[in-house]
């Protein structure tokens, strides 16, 4: 083969290689989907694949008899769980705010005082009392009243100054007021909340 013939052959092959190839519609999408699937298999942990398998919707065929049996089983489990459900002494949610009342009051001793409302949100509590240095720390002295939504409240006239207090939930749970500061010194291992009662704002 002469040099000229060799050059013509190379040129023909090159033209053949340069010719555009016709591809079917959607080829790009198919290739990219395959690439994504490959990468997903490589990087997805087994737990995630298992989760996807679990949450993928499926159609389940169930006979009426099997459905009734399943419902009875679920009801039985709920009854068993209900027997063991003893309400905890402390409330599930505990939030308290102190709301100074608008009107001033003066107790019998003629000491300057203001009426203060104690509020505790404890929907699961059976009884709540506020105790403090204003009622001899006696839970029987100031039981709180509950509303339908589980908000316990009590109003008390407090002398001006600083008072320590706490809530007693279900007779035993010593609960602090999360919206008030705690007393820095704790003599008995159960800290108290603190409220400062001042005069009405001018």
């Amino acid at each position: 083969m002469s040099d000229i013939e060799r050059d013509e052959l190379i040129e023909r092959v090159a033209r053949e290689v340069r010719r555009p190839v016709a591809v079917g519609p959607g080829l790009d999408a198919r290739i990219m989907a395959a690439v994504r699937a490959e990468r997903s298999r490589a990087t997805d942990p087994a737990a995630r694949r298992a989760w996807r398998w679990l949450v993928r919707p499926r159609t389940v065929a169930l006979s009426p008899l099997a459905g009734l049996a399943m419902a009875a089983g679920v009801a039985g489990v709920m009854v068993l769980l209900g027997r063991g459900d003893s309400r905890p002494a402390s409330p599930a949610a505990t939030t308290a705010v102190l709301v100074p009342a608008a009107a001033d009051v003066r107790p019998a001793a003629n000491t300057p005082a203001r009426e203060v409302q104690f509020v505790l949100v404890a929907p699961r509590a059976r009884q709540v009392a506020v105790v403090g240095d204003f009622n001899d720390w006696d839970p029987a002295r100031t039981p709180m009243r509950v509303s339908a939504s589980g908000v316990w409240s009590a109003r008390l006239p407090l002398a001006l100054g600083r008072h320590e207090y706490a809530f007693v939930v279900d007779g035993a749970g010593w609960t602090l007021d999360p919206s008030a500061p705690s007393a820095p010194a704790d003599d008995f291992g159960k800290p108290n909340s603190v409220i400062t009662v001042g005069e009405s704002a001018p």
Binding site: V131, D133, D136, W137, D138, P139, A159, L160, G161, R162, E164, W174, P181, S182, A183, P184, A185, D187, F188, G189, K190, N192, V194, T196, G198, E199, S200, A201, P202
Partner: protein
């Protein structure tokens, strides 16, 4: 003979007075006789010294309500009695019972005798009860004692009223709730309240009583 009679009579009178002084609340709430006797002895001693006794009874009742051990109840009552005595000395013999009680709370919260004396000196004859309560509360909120002392002293020097002190304390509480550093909030708010009261005297964090005369810089923002 007459001397013996007088001594015996005095003893009987003292015993009767002590028996009469026994608080029925202690009898009903402190079942242990030894604990009750120890607490009543402290209460009686305080009464003779002219100190307020109600906080001592109250402390014992708090311990009983919390089902604290006897020795802890007695120790707490004795400790409070000592604080009441020191508070009265620091605040002066003319101090009211409420002031002495509030002073004892402040001492219990870690304030010094000097801080109480400085507060009395600047406040003059005006009541100190709320100022001392605010002092104790600021520490409870996390304000450093020196900063709280300087802030309250600065406000007192400007003649702020009790209601304004409580407003100052409420402002600090709000700031802390919103994430402000307690010390910086107390410092800046004391300047604001002082300005509102007609002066420009402020405090610098960490000042000891009586030395707070610098205007503070604005608090740094948290990142």
């Amino acid at each position: 003979m007459i001397r013996q009679f007088v001594v015996t009579l005095a003893g009987v009178a003292l015993t009767a007075a002590a028996a009469g002084a026994q608080d029925p609340r202690l009898a009903s709430r402190l079942p242990d006789a030894d604990t009750r006797a120890a607490v009543e002895a402290v209460v009686e001693s305080a009464r003779r010294a002219g100190l307020p006794t109600e906080p001592l009874v109250d402390k014992a009742l708090e311990g009983a309500s919390k089902r604290a051990p006897s020795e802890r109840i007695v120790a707490a009552v004795r400790n409070l009695a000592a604080h009441l005595e020191v508070a009265r000395r620091a605040l002066g013999p003319e101090s009211s019972e409420a002031e002495v009680i509030a002073g004892a709370s402040a001492l219990h919260a870690g304030y010094t005798v000097e801080a109480l004396s400085a507060l009395r000196a600047r406040r003059g004859r005006r009541p100190l009860t709320v100022a001392l309560a605010v002092l104790a509360d600021l520490v409870a909120r996390g304000v450093p004692r020196d900063t709280a002392t300087a802030a309250v002293l600065a406000l007192t020097e400007r003649g702020v009223r009790d209601a304004e002190l409580v407003a100052f304390q409420s402002g600090v509480e709000r700031d802390i709730t919103q994430g402000a550093p307690p010390g910086e909030s107390a410092t800046v708010r004391s300047v604001i309240e002082s300005d509102a009261a007609g002066g420009a005297v402020g405090v610098t964090q960490g000042n000891t009583p009586g030395s707070g005369t610098n205007r503070p810089t604005a608090p740094k923002r948290r990142p």
